[in-house]
């Protein structure tokens, strides 16, 4: 029995095409054109969104080297298709819970590069007022519930957001991102059970980039078929090619449709890879260079641009125009962050309780 079939539950009509892909070496399935043929404009938007994340983070690397930003910074480079594809399936009323590797989730959600960059700089104009930093991006107005730096720590929260939406008869979905490493945490399993038991409207998005820091999937999970394990809780679960943004979008849309239809939580295992080290501190001694190169040959951005070029949907000029626009946007964000005020030390104790928060105004 293939893993994809094993992960299917009774309620699951059929996995999306790429769900058949169970190993990363079988490329043919993942480069298959998706069933739905979205228009050029939409593909261009996806591309632009991925490029924004990529360029934003590349700038972060420079700024980190220049000691402009500090702390733990976890790059998403290589995984952009996941954030961008999943976000397409969500509405502004839906909620998002994320991890410490969340620049991509935040930008895809529409938090501006200005607000994220200012947060990296620790400035008051940052999306968390400078209290959070790279790992704790928040935006209540976009129902973006953070940047959680405890592995699996956001999962119970997501269940509760979904529970509240259900109790108040709202049709929102709560989307929770987490890594493969979260599969070894009790909080993942507690939440998976609770969400399935109560049929909560949650989309569980596992970004399986095959490593938890330096520990490879095979070295931290006895059973590495994560979608199958999620399905064992009685929820719909698919393994999906996480490098193809259109495949991700399609899977996420179907999952969200299922959730809104009231069939309970859905789980997506997005098979992806981080091209950079775990964090800026990580010398990346535990991965084979050839493995990294192999995955880079399936760079989600190249995958989409190549496809669009092949279809005659995109010229070199178009890419250059998009990149110029994004570069200018990031330049402005950096400049604004540089100029932005730092919070006075007298405000140190603000936001500890709501009454101390009121002292701000």
């Amino acid at each position: 029995m293939s893993a994809a079939r094993a992960t299917r539950t009774r309620k699951d009509p059929a996995p999306p095409k790429s769900g058949k892909e169970t190993t990363t070496t079988r490329r043919s399935a993942s480069t298959e054109a998706p069933a739905r043929q979205p228009d050029t404009g939409h593909r261009t938007d996806l591309l632009e969104s991925m490029l924004r994340i990529r360029h934003f983070e590349e700038r972060c690397v420079e700024l980190y080297s220049a000691a402009k930003i500090r702390g733990f910074v976890h790059l998403y480079i290589g995984e952009e298709a996941v954030a961008v594809g999943v976000n397409e399936a969500l509405t502004p009323e839906d909620a998002v819970v994320s991890t410490y590797r969340e620049h991509g989730h935040a930008l895809a959600r529409g938090i501006t590069a200005d607000a994220v960059m200012a947060e990296m700089y620790g400035r008051t104009t940052g999306c968390s007022g400078g209290r959070g930093g790279s790992m704790h991006l928040f935006d209540a107005s976009r129902r973006f519930y953070g940047g959680n730096a405890i592995v699996a720590g956001g999962l119970p929260l997501a269940a509760g957001l979904a529970l509240a939406d259900r109790m108040r008869e709202r049709t929102n979905v709560t989307c929770c991102f987490f890594g493969d490493g979260a599969f070894a945490e009790g909080e993942f399993h507690e939440t998976a059970n609770l969400a399935a038991l109560w049929k909560l409207p949650v989309l569980l998005v596992c970004e399986n980039n095959r490593y938890a820091m330096g520990t490879a999937l095979e070295r931290h999970e006895a059973q590495t078929d994560l979608a199958m394990r999620a399905a064992s809780y009685g929820m719909v679960a698919w393994a999906v090619d996480g490098m193809d943004v259109e495949v991700v979008e399609q899977a996420a849309r179907r999952a969200v449709e299922g959730i809104r239809a009231g069939t309970g939580p859905h789980f997506l295992e997005l098979r992806t890879y981080r091209f950079r080290a775990h964090s800026m501190y990580d010398p990346d001694r535990y991965r084979d260079r050839t493995e990294i190169e192999r995955w880079k040959s399936r760079d989600p951005i190249s995958l989409l641009t190549d496809r669009m070029r092949d279809n005659g949907e995109l010229g070199d000029k178009d890419v250059a125009t998009i990149e110029q626009r994004i570069t200018a946007e990031i330049d402005r964000a950096v400049e604004a962050a540089e100029q932005a005020p730092e919070e006075p030390v007298e405000h140190l104790l603000h936001h500890v309780t709501s009454s101390s928060a009121e002292a701000v105004s």
């Binding site: 007022g129 720590g153 957001l161 709560t174």
Partner: protein, 331 residues
């Protein structure tokens, strides 16, 4: 007892707590109760008995044995506009949810730069005295009182059991309520409060002039018993019930010590690094020149709580220990 007794009813601490929950569920549809065995079973200490029948399984919600998931779900639901009351069976089990309480409930407001207050109430049982041994008997509320961003309550009287929940639910931030297991069966007349019950102030449970007995929760009845004994000897002890363990009502402590010039701090937790240590330090900082004697502490012996009755009794603060400490301070 009131003069005519007409506004009084005999009730237990358990019933007072239940009545508080019932009123909260009735008056605000955003309120719901969730935890292990709160519904069908009626609560592991019987606090929520009958509430399922009255409010239904959506609002009196039995959870699986997943402390982290359902406490975290309470946090998420609070963020999304509900007013959850989460019950954890005992403080020892709350350790499985400590991640959610500390890393999420207490920090989200701050990490988000003030965007995300968490209006959540978590109730749990604490304390020893029922021979439940070393995994069901500890007093860890002092650990929670260490954490900025949460309010920690210890209702010790029928009135507080009945009336602390409503202001706790009105608080925009997380509130932890510690119910000492030995108090549930305490029974008496539940008087209507003359003033609104606040969550800011300690209470003088017995005024006195010679020594301050400073305590909270399950140790309050013991401190009052000790005060009776001392009174028989002609020593007038003032009994301070802290009520709110975080933020501490430091002024009440200072004021009491300014009256009596002597203090015994009684805390069922282990002495080392305890809330009693915090109170003692505050007295040293604020009232050093008021003191006529060193501060005394009466705490549990530094041992995991033993099962055997004699040993458990020996491990816990007892009225006689409090009296002895008071003697040391007075003489």
């Amino acid at each position: 007892m009131g003069v005519d007794g007409s506004h009084e009813a005999k009730t237990t601490y358990r019933e007072a707590m239940r009545e508080a929950l019932r009123q909260a569920l009735r008056s605000d549809e955003r309120v719901f109760l969730m935890g292990e065995d709160v519904g069908r079973y009626g609560g592991c200490f019987g606090v929520s008995l009958g509430l399922l029948e009255e409010f239904g399984p959506e609002r009196v919600r039995d959870t699986p044995l997943s402390e982290s998931a359902f406490v975290g779900a309470g946090i998420g639901a609070a963020l999304a506009g509900m007013r959850p009351v989460v019950e954890i069976m005992t403080v020892n089990f709350s350790l499985l949810a400590l991640d959610q309480i500390l890393n999420n409930a207490a920090t989200l407001l701050h990490m988000s730069g003030g965007q995300l207050p968490v209006p959540l109430v978590i109730r749990m049982t604490t304390g020893a005295g029922r021979q439940l041994a070393a995994q069901h008997s500890h007093s860890l509320e002092g650990w929670y009182a260490h954490i900025p961003g949460i309010r920690v309550l210890a209702p010790a009287t029928l009135e507080d059991a009945r009336h602390m929940l409503a202001p706790a639910l009105a608080d925009p931030d997380p509130v932890l309520i510690f119910e000492h297991g030995s108090l549930y069966n305490v029974s008496g007349e539940l008087l209507e409060p003359t003033a609104p019950v606040d969550l800011e102030h300690a209470a003088i449970r017995r005024p006195g002039t010679d020594i301050s007995l400073i305590t909270y929760g399950g140790s309050l009845p013991k401190a009052l018993a000790a005060a009776d004994e001392l009174a028989a000897e002609g020593i007038s002890a003032e009994v301070i019930d802290l009520r709110t363990l975080r933020p501490l009502d430091a002024e009440a402590i200072t004021a009491s010590v300014a009256r009596t010039h002597r203090a015994v701090v009684i805390d069922e937790a282990w002495r080392t690094g305890s809330l009693a240590a915090e109170v003692s330090a505050r007295i040293a900082e604020e009232s050093f020149y008021e003191l006529d004697a060193p501060v005394e502490r009466v705490c549990s012996a530094e041992v995991p709580m033993p099962y055997a009755r004699r040993l458990e009794e020996a491990a816990l603060p007892q009225p006689a220990d409090i009296v002895a400490a008071a003697h040391r301070a007075v003489n």
